[in-house]
C-alpha cells in the first residue's frame, strides 16, 4: 500500500470522525446541523491550506564537506580529496570553471543559490557512492544541508554537465583515427586489422531496487535489476586535449 502523507491521514481521520458523529450523535436541530457543517468545512479547509501542518522544528545540521577544501590546500592530502569527490582538485576547478556560467545557477529570487562549488561537490559526492551511502538522507547529513537541497543541487549540476555532452563525447577526426590505427597495427602485428579501431561492449548498470514500473523487464542475467548500457571505446588514449 502506498505511503500516505500526514495531511492525507489528517483528512481521512477527520472524515471518519464526521461520519461516526453523524451516525451516533445525529443533530436534531437544523440550526445546529448547519453550524456543525460550517465548522467541519472550515476545519477541512484549514487542514488543506495550512502549509506546515506539523510545525517546523529546527533540525541540527553539521556538515563536514568543507573538509574537502582543507584537503585541497595541502598537496599531501590530495588523495583524501580524490576519495571524497572522485577527482583531483585541479580537475574540480576546471569542471567548476566549465559549468559556472550555466543559466541554471542564476536566479531572480531575492534568496541567492548556494555557491556553485558546494552544489558541485554535493553532486560529485553523491555520484561516487552507492547503497546506503548514496541515500539522500546520508548525503544531507554529511553535507549539512536539507534533503530537498541534495536533490536540487544534483539536478542542477547534472543539467549543467549535460550541456557539455557534445564537447566530450564525439566521433574522431581523421588524424585521431590514424593514431589509433597505428597503435592497433603495432599491437596486433597484423596490418589488416588496423581498421578495427573501435570496440563495443555491453554492461548492465544495476539499480538499487526493483523498479515499480515494468519491474520484470529490468531483470538481467546476473540476477539483478538494471539498465543495459552499450559503450564504444577507443583502444588507445590518443586524444590530444583540444579544448
Amino acid at each position: 500500500m502506498a505511503r500516505l502523507s500526514f495531511r492525507r491521514k489528517a483528512i481521512r481521520f477527520y472524515l471518519l470522525h464526521m461520519l461516526l458523529r453523524h451516525m451516533f450523535i445525529p443533530s436534531r436541530d437544523f440550526d445546529v446541523f448547519c453550524r456543525q457543517n460550517q465548522l467541519d468545512y472550515n476545519m477541512l479547509h484549514y487542514i488543506i491550506t495550512t502549509r506546515y501542518l506539523r510545525g517546523r522544528e529546527k533540525i541540527p545540521k553539521a556538515g563536514n564537506l568543507h573538509l574537502a577544501w582543507s584537503y585541497a590546500e595541502d598537496k599531501h592530502k590530495h588523495a583524501r580529496f580524490v576519495t571524497m569527490l572522485r577527482l583531483t582538485p585541479a580537475s574540480f576547478q576546471k569542471l567548476l570553471h566549465c559549468i559556472e556560467g550555466h543559466p541554471i545557477f542564476q536566479t531572480n529570487s531575492h534568496r541567492p543559490q548556494a555557491a556553485v562549488e558546494i552544489q558541485l561537490s554535493v553532486a560529485l559526492y553523491r555520484m561516487g557512492r552507492y547503497g546506503n551511502g548514496a541515500s539522500v538522507e546520508d548525503i544531507a547529513r554529511i553535507a549539512g544541508i536539507s534533503e530537498g537541497s541534495v536533490e536540487k543541487y544534483t539536478e542542477r549540476c547534472q543539467i549543467a554537465i549535460m550541456s557539455l555532452h557534445d564537447q566530450y563525447v564525439r566521433a574522431l577526426t581523421v588524424e585521431e583515427k590514424e593514431v589509433e590505427k597505428r597503435w592497433i597495427e603495432r599491437e596486433s602485428r597484423c596490418p589488416g586489422w588496423r581498421d578495427g579501431y573501435l570496440m563495443y561492449d555491453g554492461t548492465p548498470v544495476d539499480l538499487f531496487q526493483r523498479p515499480g514500473l515494468n519491474g520484470d523487464a529490468y531483470y538481467h542475467r546476473k540476477c539483478r535489476y538494471g539498465i543495459n548500457l552499450q559503450v564504444c571505446y577507443l583502444f588507445f588514449p590518443s586524444f590530444p586535449s583540444s579544448k
Binding site: 580524490v82 577527482l87 580537475s91 569542471l95 553523491r126 555520484m127 557512492r129 552507492y130 548514496a134 547534472q158 554537465i161 549535460m162 557539455l164 555532452h165 566530450y168 563525447v169 564525439r170 566521433a171 574522431l172 581523421v174 596486433s188 597484423c190 589488416g192 586489422w193 581498421d195 578495427g196 579501431y197 573501435l198 570496440m199 563495443y200 561492449d201 555491453g202 554492461t203 548498470v205 544495476d206 539499480l207 538499487f208 523498479p211 514500473l213 515494468n214 523487464a217 529490468y218 531483470y219 538481467h220 535489476y225 538494471g226 539498465i227 543495459n228 548500457l229 552499450q230 559503450v231 564504444c232 571505446y233 577507443l234 583502444f235 588507445f236 588514449p237 586524444f239 586535449s241 579544448k243
Partner: protein
C-alpha cells in the same frame, strides 16, 4: 598499460533484460554507421553480437573450436581486455553505477536514471582527458573491478566483402590475414 579508454559512442535506456545484440541496435554505429566508420573500418565485439561488416565479433562455440579461429579469438581478446578495464574505471570512480539510487515508477523517472549514466560517461571522458591514465588505473584497481566517404573520390580502396555487406566474409578475411602472417 594504460586503461583510460575514451568513450566515443554509447546507448542506454534498454532495460537489462534486453540482449546485448538487441541493445546494440540503439547505438550510433548501428543506426548511422557512416558517421563513425569510413572505408573498411569496423569495430571489435564479443561473441554476443551478430556479425556484420562494421561489427566483427569473436566466434561462437562450434566455429570457435577451429584452430585458426581459436587463434584469432585469442588475439582479439588480448586487445579487448582493455574494454573491461574501461568499465572497471568507469564503475570504480562513479560508484553510483553499481546501484543506481533512482526510483523508477514512471517513464519520466526512467529518463532520469539514464541521465545519471550519461553524466558519468561525460565526466569519465572529461577526466581521462584532464587527469590521464594514472587515476583511472587507481579507480579500477581500488575496487577490482568525419569525413563523408565517397568511393569515387579516390578514398581508400573498399574490399569486395564490405561492398556486398557480408560480415562473415569480412571476418574470414581477417582470420586469413592473421594465419598468413603467422606462417
Amino acid at each position: 598499460m594504460p586503461s583510460n579508454l575514451r568513450i566515443v559512442d554509447y546507448s542506454h535506456g534498454m532495460t537489462a533484460s534486453a540482449h546485448d545484440s538487441l541493445a546494440f541496435t540503439g547505438t550510433c554505429a548501428s543506426k548511422y554507421p557512416e558517421f563513425l566508420f569510413d572505408g573498411n573500418e569496423f569495430a571489435w565485439a564479443d561473441s554476443a553480437y551478430s556479425c556484420t561488416v562494421r561489427m566483427i565479433p569473436i566466434h561462437k562455440r562450434p566455429a570457435a573450436h577451429h584452430p585458426d579461429n581459436a587463434h584469432f579469438d585469442k588475439c582479439v581478446s588480448h586487445l579487448r581486455v582493455r574494454s573491461e578495464h574501461c568499465i572497471g574505471s568507469l564503475k570504480g570512480r562513479w560508484q553510483c553505477l553499481r546501484g543506481l539510487r533512482v526510483h523508477i515508477n514512471s517513464k519520466h523517472e526512467h529518463v532520469t536514471a539514464c541521465r545519471w549514466i550519461s553524466i558519468c560517461i561525460i565526466l569519465h571522458n572529461m577526466l581521462v582527458e584532464w587527469e590521464g591514465d594514472k587515476w583511472s588505473d587507481f579507480w579500477r584497481l581500488k575496487y577490482h573491478m568525419e569525413e563523408e566517404f565517397d568511393p569515387a573520390a579516390g578514398g581508400p580502396q573498399v574490399l569486395p566483402s564490405v561492398m556486398i555487406n557480408d560480415g562473415e566474409a569480412r571476418r574470414k578475411e581477417l582470420v586469413d590475414e592473421l594465419v598468413r602472417l603467422a606462417n
